[in-house]
C-alpha cells in the first residue's frame, strides 16, 4: 500500500480576483490547474504542485498564491513532517530520494556573519561615479620569472590567463541539465559582460562554438562531448573533480532529458540515462591529476588555463595545495550549498563544508606555502549577492562562480524539481514547449542586468572601503569582521570580531 502523503504546499486562489483567463492552466506543465466548465471556475490539484510560482507570476490579476500547508503530524522537534514524509516515500518506493538545487537546510551561512569595513576620516571613501573603480582582473598563474630582452624590456613569461571585466563567472551547468535557451542566455550574457560561462559536463552545442572566447569547457568523469574541437574552442578547460551539491558521487542525467540535440552534443545515445562515474577512472591520486592537467595542456598547446574544480570537503586546503602544484592554473572550489540538476537528497543535505571556511583555509594554506601565485581561486556554491562576492574576494578568492543566482535571474523559483524535467520556466527541461518559455533575448539581458547591478554594488562597497581595484581587495581580510562567530570560526576565517580595531 502506498501511504498517502499530504501535499506540502497548497494553491490558494482568490476567487474574487480570478477572471478565469486560464493562463495558469496553460502555463502549468504539472497540470495543477483546470477549468471547470460547469461552474465556470478554475480548480487546482495541490498534489501536483511543485511550487514553482509560474502561475503566480503570470496570473494577470494576482489571484494566486502558494502557501505551506498547515496540515501537520503531531508536532515533534525530532521527527518533523518532512522527515516523516521522507520515510513514507522511501517505504512506498524503496528508492533513493532525489532532489535538486542547493542544500536548503538551516546550516550557518557565514557570509551573513561577516561585515564589511568602510573609510571614515583617516582615509577617504572613493566615489565610483567620479573615479575609476576597477573590477577587471586576470585569472591564472601569476608566478613568473623576470626576464628582459636586449632593450631591457620585460618579457611576457606569464602562463595564459583569463581576463574578466567583472569578478563573476557563470558556473558549470550542462546542456541537458539545463535547456538550449538557458545556455544561449548564459553564453550571450558572458560575451556581453566580458566574463565566462561554463559548459558543465554536457559538451558544447554546435551553435555555441561562436561564444568560445567566453566559454569554459568542462572535462568531467563521464568525458561527455569532449573532443579536439571542444577543447580548442574554449577560453579555458575545467577538470571537474567534484561538485559541492554532491561531493563524492557522479552525475545522472535521466534518459528523458537526452533529446536528439543533447545526445549529439554529449556524443551519447539518445534516450538512455547518462551516468558520469564518481571518480575519474584515470585519476586515483594527485599525480594522476597532474597527468590529466598536462594532457589537456599538451592537447591545446599550452594556450589555455586549466581549472581544477573540487567540492569543498574537510581536507580541501591540503587538496588545494596538491592542485596548486599539479600545474593547474586555477582552482575552483564549490561549496556544499551549490546547486545541481539532480542529487540524492541525503548527499546534497549532509556532505561537504561551507565554501566560506574552505576558501579561507585554502587561501591561507597556499600563502603559508608561498604558492598562492601558482593558482587563482574561484569560488562558488551559493554566492547570492554582490556582498557575498565582496566577502569572498576579501577572504582570498580571485572571483566567484554563480549558478543558482544566474538561474534565478532566468526565472528559476527554486522549486528544486529540476530532476523531474518539467521546468515551467524553460530552464531545467528539454521539452520543446517548455524550453521556448525562456527567450534568450530576455534571459541574457536579465543576466547582464544582474551582474551589472552586482558590479555596481561591488564598486560602491569598494569605494566605501577606499579601494579602487578589486585586486587590492583580494585577501584583504582586515576589511572583514565576524559577528556571531566562535573563536574557532574566526580563526578558520582569519578575521577579527566586529568591534575589534585594526
Amino acid at each position: 500500500m502506498n501511504m498517502y502523503i499530504q501535499p506540502e504546499y497548497e494553491v490558494i486562489r482568490n476567487s474574487d480576483k480570478c477572471i478565469a483567463c486560464r493562463v495558469c492552466e496553460r502555463q502549468c506543465a504539472n497540470l495543477v490547474h483546470s477549468f471547470d466548465s460547469e461552474t465556470g471556475k478554475m480548480k487546482a490539484d495541490d498534489s501536483k504542485c511543485v511550487n514553482c510560482h509560474r502561475c503566480v507570476c503570470l496570473c494577470p490579476t494576482h489571484a494566486l498564491k502558494i502557501v505551506k500547508s498547515d496540515d501537520t503530524y503531531k508536532i515533534n522537534a525530532n521527527w518533523d513532517n518532512q522527515t516523516i514524509n521522507e520515510v513514507y516515500k522511501q517505504a512506498n518506493t524503496g528508492g533513493v530520494l532525489l532532489s535538486s538545487m542547493g542544500n536548503p537546510k538551516p546550516y550557518p551561512v557565514y557570509w551573513d556573519r561577516m561585515l564589511v569595513n568602510a573609510s571614515q576620516v583617516t582615509n577617504p571613501p572613493i566615489d565610483p561615479l567620479r573615479e575609476p573603480m576597477e573590477t577587471q582582473l586576470y585569472l591564472g598563474k601569476r608566478a613568473a620569472k623576470i626576464e628582459r630582452d636586449e632593450q631591457g624590456k620585460l618579457k611576457n613569461t606569464l602562463a595564459p590567463q583569463l581576463k574578466l571585466k567583472v569578478p563573476v563567472l557563470f558556473s558549470a551547468m550542462s546542456y541537458g541539465s539545463i535547456s538550449y535557451n538557458a545556455h544561449e542566455s548564459l553564453a550571450r550574457a558572458a560575451e556581453e559582460l566580458g566574463t565566462y560561462y561554463n559548459t558543465g559536463e554536457g559538451g558544447l552545442h554546435k551553435d555555441f562554438y561562436k561564444y568560445g572566447k567566453n566559454t569554459i569547457v568542462q572535462v568531467a568523469s563521464g568525458r561527455f562531448g569532449v573532443f579536439k574541437d571542444y577543447l580548442e574552442s574554449a577560453a579555458a578547460i575545467e577538470i571537474k573533480m567534484g561538485q559541492g551539491a554532491k561531493p563524492g558521487i557522479g552525475g545522472h542525467l535521466p534518459g528523458a532529458k537526452i533529446s536528439a540535440d543533447v545526445s549529439e552534443t554529449r556524443m551519447i545515445p539518445q534516450g538512455v540515462d547518462a551516468i558520469s562515474p564518481a571518480p575519474h577512472h584515470d585519476i586515483y591520486s594527485i599525480e594522476d591529476l597532474r597527468q590529466l592537467v598536462y594532457s589537456l595542456k599538451e592537447a591545446t598547446e599550452y594556450k589555455k588555463p586549466v581549472i581544477v574544480k573540487i567540492a569543498a570537503v574537510h581536507n580541501a586546503a591540503a587538496i588545494a595545495s596538491g592542485i596548486a602544484r599539479s600545474g593547474a592554473d586555477i582552482i575552483a572550489i564549490d561549496g556544499y550549498r551549490g546547486g545541481t540538476g539532480a542529487a540524492p537528497t541525503r548527499i546534497r543535505d549532509n556532505v561537504g563544508i561551507p565554501i566560506e571556511l574552505a576558501l579561507a583555509q585554502i587561501d591561507q594554506r597556499l600563502r603559508d606555502e608561498g604558492i598562492r601565485d601558482e593558482v587563482s581561486i574561484l569560488v562558488g556554491g551559493s554566492i547570492r549577492s554582490s556582498a557575498d562576492v565582496i566577502k569572498a574576494i576579501a577572504l582570498g578568492a580571485d572571483a566567484c562562480y554563480i549558478g543558482t543566482a544566474a538561474l534565478l535571474a532566468l526565472g528559476c523559483h527554486l522549486c528544486r524539481s529540476c530532476h523531474e524535467g518539467k521546468c515551467n520556466w524553460g530552464i531545467a527541461t528539454q521539452r520543446p514547449d517548455l524550453v521556448k518559455r525562456l527567450n534568450p533575448d530576455i534571459g541574457y539581458k536579465r543576466l547582464v542586468n544582474l551582474v551589472t547591478a552586482w558590479n555596481h554594488e561591488i564598486q560602491e562597497m569598494m569605494g566605501g572601503m577606499g579601494i579602487n581595484s578589486i585586486e587590492a581587495l583580494r585577501g584583504n581580510r582586515l576589511m572583514l569582521r565576524g559577528i556571531g562567530l566562535t573563536d574557532t570560526e574566526l580563526n578558520l576565517l582569519g578575521i577579527k570580531y566586529a568591534g575589534e580595531s585594526m
Partner: protein, 367 residues
C-alpha cells in the same frame, strides 16, 4: 596600557619632506628640521624622524645599525646576537640632547657591522639578504630590542615627539649628508612607541609616508609569502617591504616598481602607446596584489637617490622642486620655501607618477 606598534594595525596621517644635493655636497640636518617645523600641524607630537644619506663617510663600508633598547637585558641579548653574526667595528650610544619636550626615550645605540664571513658563507645567502634576516630576527625574537636603521652610510633617527624636537634631540645639525628625508607623524591610535616612528628602514631603503592605504592586508598577506614579517603593521613597513621585494629581490627598476605600487588604471593603460601598454599590463598581471590603493605619498630614500611617489588617485599632496643641484620633495610647498625661497622649478607630480632624483653620474636604481 595601550598596545604598541605591531600588536595592532596603526594608520596615521603625516607630513613628509626630503632633500637631495645631486652633486653630492653635504648638508647638515638643520635644513630638514627647519622645513618640517613649518608643517608642525601635520604632526601631533606622537612621532618624528629623519633619514640621512652619506652621513657616515668614515664607516661607509659597514652596516650601520641603530637600535632601541627598552631595558638593559634587551641590549645584552641583542648584542650577543649581533656578535654571533657580525664583527662589530665600532659601537656607541648615540649622542642626544636632553629636551623637555622629548621624554621616555629608550636606550639608543649605534653599531657599525660587517657580517662574519664564515657565517655568511654558511648561510648561502646574498650578503644583504643575510643582514636583512638578522634584522628581522632581532626585531621578532629579542623582546625590547629593535633595529630601526640598518643601511650602509646612512642612518635613521626617530622618536616620539614633534619632528623638529626629535631632530634637535638627535643633534642632527651635527651630521652632514647629501640627502635627507623627514617625517612628522599624526597617528590616530598609537601609544607612541619610539620604534613605531618613521622613517621605516630596511638596509639602505628608508621610507617616509603620508596617508592610510586601503590595500594594506592584501599587500601584507601577499608580501609575507616571501619571508617578510610585517611586525609593525604600518603602511610604511609594508611599502618598504614591497619596494625591497620588487627592487632588490625581483630586479625591477624604480619606474617599474612604481607601475606596480601605483599602477595606472586599466583605462589609462588602454590609451598608452603599445610598448607602455604591454609593459604596464604585464606588471599588473604579474603583481596585482602589490597594487597599493588608498591615499599615500611616499619618499623612498636609497643609496644615491630619492624617489617621490603618490597614489594613483593623488589623494595626498606632494610637491617637488629644484634649485640648482638641489631637489626637494614635500607634503607642502611651504616647507621647501622655508629653506629655499628662490626655486628654479616647482611642480606637483601626477598621481602614480614616480619622481626620481639621483646623484649625478652614480647610476642609481632608476633606469
Amino acid at each position: 596600557m595601550l598596545p604598541k606598534e605591531g600588536q595592532f594595525r596603526d594608520p596615521s596621517g603625516c607630513a613628509v619632506t626630503g632633500v637631495i644635493d645631486r652633486s653630492g655636497r653635504g648638508m647638515t640636518g638643520e635644513g630638514m628640521i627647519e622645513a618640517i617645523s613649518v608643517m608642525h600641524d601635520r604632526s601631533n607630537g606622537l612621532g618624528g624622524g629623519f633619514a640621512g644619506y652619506g652621513i657616515y663617510p668614515h664607516y661607509k663600508d659597514f652596516y650601520a645599525f641603530h637600535l632601541f633598547y627598552d631595558k638593559k637585558e634587551a641590549q645584552e641579548g641583542a648584542e650577543a646576537f649581533i656578535r654571533r653574526h657580525f664583527e662589530i667595528v665600532y659601537s656607541s650610544e648615540i649622542q642626544t640632547r636632553k629636551l623637555p619636550s622629548v621624554t621616555d626615550e629608550p636606550l639608543i645605540f649605534r653599531y657599525f657591522l660587517a657580517p662574519l664571513p664564515q657565517k655568511l658563507a654558511n648561510s648561502h645567502l646574498d650578503e644583504r639578504e643575510y643582514v636583512a634576516r638578522c634584522v628581522n630576527r632581532i626585531n621578532a625574537e629579542i623582546a625590547g630590542a629593535y633595529v630601526f636603521s640598518s643601511g650602509k652610510n646612512m642612518g635613521i633617527f626617530k622618536g616620539v615627539g614633534y619632528p623638529e624636537d626629535i631632530g634637535r634631540f638627535y643633534r642632527l645639525e651635527e651630521y652632514e649628508g647629501y640627502a635627507w628625508t623627514c617625517h612628522g607623524r599624526y597617528p590616530t591610535n598609537t601609544p607612541g612607541w619610539w620604534g613605531g616612528a618613521h622613517p621605516f628602514g630596511l638596509l639602505d631603503f628608508s621610507v617616509v609616508h603620508n596617508g592610510e592605504i586601503s590595500s594594506y592586508d592584501a599587500n601584507r598577506r601577499y608580501i609575507e609569502m616571501f619571508g617578510y614579517k610585517c611586525t609593525l603593521q604600518t603602511d610604511t613597513e609594508v611599502i618598504t617591504y614591497i619596494i625591497d621585494y620588487l627592487v632588490r629581490r625581483r630586479g625591477l627598476t624604480l619606474e617599474e616598481t612604481a607601475h606596480v605600487l601605483a599602477a595606472s588604471f586599466w583605462s589609462t593603460i588602454a590609451d598608452k602607446g603599445e610598448e607602455a601598454k604591454e609593459q604596464e599590463t604585464l606588471l599588473r598581471r604579474m603583481f596585482p596584489s602589490l597594487l597599493v590603493t588608498g591615499p599615500f605619498s611616499i619618499i623612498l630614500g636609497y643609496t644615491g637617490g630619492l624617489m617621490a611617489l603618490g597614489d594613483r588617485l593623488k589623494l595626498r599632496s606632494m610637491v617637488c622642486a629644484e634649485k640648482g643641484d638641489r631637489a626637494y620633495i614635500s607634503s607642502e610647498e611651504s616647507a621647501i620655501r622655508k629653506i629655499e625661497p628662490n626655486l628654479d622649478r616647482v611642480w606637483s607630480p601626477a598621481g602614480g607618477e614616480a619622481v626620481v632624483f639621483e646623484l649625478y653620474g652614480k647610476g642609481g636604481l632608476a633606469r
